[in-house]
């Protein structure tokens, strides 16, 4: 894991018993989690303004109370089968940060928001290497809740080094 542990420690919300809180959401029957402190808001899907010559997973931009926020389809990015958006489709607006750009706000489209879990550090298992679009670099760890597996994402890594980095490397062709 390349994530910078200090940074995550700082921002994680610790419950009294030393557990971190994660918001989980569904993507094609898989459950993913993000640090709840990175979630700015959750809103319904309401269409976007597409941007020219963007890869498929960048849907476009929306107006979020006066700021222009890009919207990313994680299903497409993770190469999961696409589905039509319906009324449970939601946009999770997250704040990501990196050294170069500072803090940026982006929205990710997910099938549905699931719940908030308290997970301790010791409960996180390291993800095995498996290749594919969601490389282990973007996964902070795997947790078990009941009999389900939760995939805890490192949202900074995923956005900066995954979703957006893809744009820098292969300029989209028409």
């Amino acid at each position: 894991m390349n994530a910078t542990p200090e940074q995550i420690n700082e921002t994680s919300l610790q419950t009294e018993d030393g557990l971190d809180q994660y918001l989980t959401f569904m993507l094609a029957d898989e459950e993913y989690g993000v640090d709840i402190l990175r979630v700015q808001e959750i809103k319904g899907w309401d269409g976007v303004t597409p941007m020219p010559n963007m890869p498929e997973h960048i849907l476009g931009v929306i107006n979020l109370r006066g700021t222009v926020v890009p919207i990313i389809d994680l299903r497409t990015y993770f190469e999961l089968p696409t589905v039509a958006y319906d009324k449970t489709t939601v946009v999770v607006v997250v704040r990501i940060s990196d050294e170069e750009h500072g803090e940026r706000t982006m929205g990710i489209v997910v099938d549905a928001v699931s719940e908030v879990h308290n997970i301790g550090k010791e409960q996180l298992r390291e993800s095995p290497d498996f290749g594919g679009a969601c490389s282990t670099e973007f996964i902070k760890g795997l947790a078990t809740e009941g009999d389900r597996m939760l995939i805890i994402l490192d949202i900074d890594q995923l956005m900066n080094n995954g979703v957006l980095q893809a744009l820098e490397h292969d300029p989209p062709m028409t």
Partner: protein, 714 residues
């Protein structure tokens, strides 16, 4: 009851810098010929800096300015010729003064070495008095500044003035300090001081801010009564002042020898005495200024100056602009109350008010627009703020390089947004330096080429459409096509067998790392110039281009948007999306006639518009959006101009025009090619703003790529 002066410091510094600007530009015009009004202006500026710095306790600044002022005073009275060396020296002094003020502003230790050096130079000039005034010898202590006083009367003759000075009790409350006056008097001539402490009350009754003392001063030297009176001018009204002239000869022998020492001890005494008596005077040190300075110099010598810019984000706004704004807000309030009145009428079931309501809304719209314009006006400053540094820069550089250059500036009053103004400074300096260094040749070279020896450098600023255009042109050597081409090939920027237009070649100098200077000078030639200029200007949403004729000079044209926040846009529809094209770049919009459309190699489409063939760009295709119309006749063509090139943008429909607030895509995302930003429309959706030059660039890239892949297939 003490007033905290520090809150006025900012204003004082601002005024200082303003004054320094006045002095500098005034001195630069003096270069060209003496103008009494100009000298007066410089003198006034120096005088107010001196006065201000003294009252705020910046004694270094005030004593330095005093020497300058003395010199300027002589020039003003015509007692001294305005000569090049003196102007140079004064300019240097302005620099020193500026650094002193900056240091004071940033609470730093002033580096007094240079100040002392320049001050000595000034004093040296003063000593070589304009007239051959013999009085120099008679004043042994404070030689420099006294040498010039009173040449009009009593030439070469020693004189004694007796001054009886009894200030009112409230004098010091008004901010006047007798010690300061005495110190100035001492500069005029040697002086003995006798203090009368008879009026001093018992210590318990002593009011520390009142003045109980009176003095009898004897001034030995050639001094004009006028000069003495001038020093007392601030206190004359609230004090008893009797100035009498004792006959001249008696002072003659006193003048030498003991008088000096006596003078100093005498002046020192009352102060010390008073300080021990609950200090009715501010504790200013009474010392001859020069000693004071050398002590400070020694102290400051070890502390290197660290430049921390403490730039304040304030702007000075013309009061008219503020008044206009207040009027506008007043109207807005009236409209608002009118609207609420109408709406309550409407709620009461009064139907015919609907029309009034619509009127009211129209009025509100107008008010809002006017208000918006006035608010933007506040941020607009004349470009002279940026231009003003050039006369000095050109003068210094041309002297250094031994070139003769005449600087012509026009359109200094053209107004631009403050942000634009701040960011355009450095690129302009770069361009001017480039012109001076590479453009304009040495005088003998110019002569040989049949040009006047003095080169001309012109700076023009003007409005064109919604843009401001700044041009830097010189009548120098121009760009050497061959040299540029060779260098470009060397750097691999173009291939050797490529056919390039002159324009394309000239604009190669904006490529990174491109310098054709044979030798790197400290002025320019490291090749980091032009690409930085271009980048800075692109960042501002502008563009830069160069035209040049070899042997005749070159012109760099910078085109900048007036403001960075708002844009007049034409809304256009492509497919289901709305795009915005800046109105400024639009030449015209038209419906195409089928017989005017032609193609080249079946791909490139051209439209014939009044004897001009304009390439058609299918915006939908370039942006990768599905457009509704495939057939050219069914859509519309927006003819735009960018980078000196006209193209037609093919869109499905035109929707309307409106002012849009520009939102950056980069805040939360990244730059997108062909798009300069986004905005939010009335219905809350986001619309993208087309970056016309970027779009054209992308279109041509696409074409090249397509033809390359076609050749590859073949």
């Amino acid at each position: 009851m003490s007033i905290d002066l520090s809150e006025f410091h900012d204003v004082f510094f601002e005024e200082c810098f303003e004054g320094l600007g006045v002095m500098e530009s005034g001195l630069l015009t003096l270069d060209k010929g003496t103008d009494a009004e100009e000298i007066n202006a410089i003198f006034r500026a120096a005088h107010s800096i001196k006065g201000g710095s003294a009252s705020f306790g910046f004694m270094d600044i005030s004593s330095f300015t005093h020497v300058m002022e003395t010199l300027l005073d002589e020039m003003r009275d015509g007692r001294r010729q305005v000569t090049q060396p003196i102007v140079d020296l004064l300019l240097e002094s302005v620099d020193v003064l500026r650094s002193m003020v900056t240091a004071a502003q940033q609470d730093e230790e002033t580096n007094l070495d240079r100040a002392a050096e320049v001050q000595q130079k000034l004093e040296a000039v003063l000593e070589k008095s304009g007239d051959d005034d013999t009085s120099t010898q008679s004043c042994s202590d404070e030689s420099s500044s006294s040498s010039d006083t009173g040449p009009a009367s009593n030439k070469g003759q020693s004189q004694v003035w007796q001054i009886k000075f009894k200030p009112d009790a409230g004098m010091m409350k008004n901010g006047n300090d007798p010690a300061r006056i005495f110190r100035e008097l001492q500069k005029l001539a040697d002086m003995t001081i006798t203090v009368d402490t008879a009026a001093l009350p018992a210590f318990a009754d002593l009011e520390p801010e009142s003045s109980y003392l009176s003095w009898v001063l004897e001034l030995h030297g050639n001094v004009d009564e006028k000069d003495i009176r001038e020093l007392f001018s601030w206190v004359e009204d609230d004090s008893e002042l009797i100035i009498t002239s004792l006959h001249a000869e008696t002072a003659a022998e006193e003048n030498h020898g003991t008088a000096t020492a006596e003078g100093e001890t005498a002046i020192a005494e009352p102060v010390i005495a008073k300080q021990s008596e609950a200090a009715p005077l501010p504790d200013t040190e009474i010392q001859p200024p020069r000693e004071n300075r050398s002590a400070d110099t020694a102290q400051a010598a070890g502390t290197p100056k660290t430049a921390v810019s403490k730039e304040s984000g304030s702007i000075r706004v013309n009061i008219d602009k503020v008044d206009a704004l207040i009027n506008m807000v007043g109207e807005l309030v009236i409209t608002q109350s009118m609207l609420s009145q109408i709406s309550s009428d409407l709620a009461a079931g009064n139907t015919h008010t609907l029309e009034n309501m619509l009127d009211g809304i129209t009025q509100l719209e107008r008010n809002t627009r006017e208000l918006q314009e006035s608010v933007l006006q506040i941020r607009m400053l004349p470009i002279s703020f940026s231009f003003s540094r050039f006369p000095r820069l050109v003068r210094d550089l041309s002297n250094k390089m031994g070139k003769q250059i005449e600087l012509i500036m026009t359109g200094e009053h053209t107004e631009v947004d403050k942000t634009v103004l701040e960011k355009i400074g450095d690129p302009l300096v770069h361009l001017v330096r480039n012109s001076l260094d590479h453009g304009i040749e040495m005088p003998d070279t110019r002569k040989a080429a049949g040009k006047p020896e003095a080169g001309t450098l012109e700076l023009h600023a003007y409005h064109k459409g919604g843009n401001i255009i700044v041009q830097v042109s010189d009548d120098g050597a121009g760009l050497n096509r061959e040299k540029l081409l060779k260098k470009a090939i060397e750097k691999g920027l173009v291939s050797a067998n490529e056919e390039l237009s002159d324009e394309r070649i000239h604009n190669l100098i904006f490529a990174p790392g491109f310098s054709t200077a044979d030798q790197i000078s400290d002025v320019s030639g490291r090749g980091v110039g032009m690409d930085v200029v271009q980048r800075n200007i692109r960042d501002l949403g502008g563009n830069v281009s160069i035209t040049s004729r070899e042997g005749a000079g070159s012109t760099v044209t910078i085109r900048l948007p007036l403001t960075l926040a708002i844009l007049d846009g034409q809304l256009a529809r492509i497919g289901n999306e709305t795009y915005i094209v800046s109105l400024v770049s639009i030449v015209e919009s038209l419906q195409m006639q089928p017989d005017q459309i032609s193609t080249i190699t079946g791909q490139a489409e051209l439209y014939r518009l009044r004897d001009e063939y304009i390439p058609i760009i299918r915006v939908g295709d370039v942006l990768g959006m599905k457009s509704e119309q495939n057939c050219l006749q069914n859509g519309l063509l927006i003819v735009v101009e960018a980078d000196g090139q006209r193209v037609g943008l093919f869109v499905d429909d035109l929707l309307g025009q409106q002012q849009v607030v520009i939102k950056s895509l980069e805040t939360n995302f990244r730059q997108v090619q062909g798009i300069s930003g986004a905005t939010i429309l009335g219905d809350g959706t986001v619309a993208l703003i087309v970056d016309v030059p970027g779009l054209i660039q992308r279109h041509f890239d696409d074409c090249t790529r397509r033809s390359l892949s076609l050749t590859a297939v073949a």
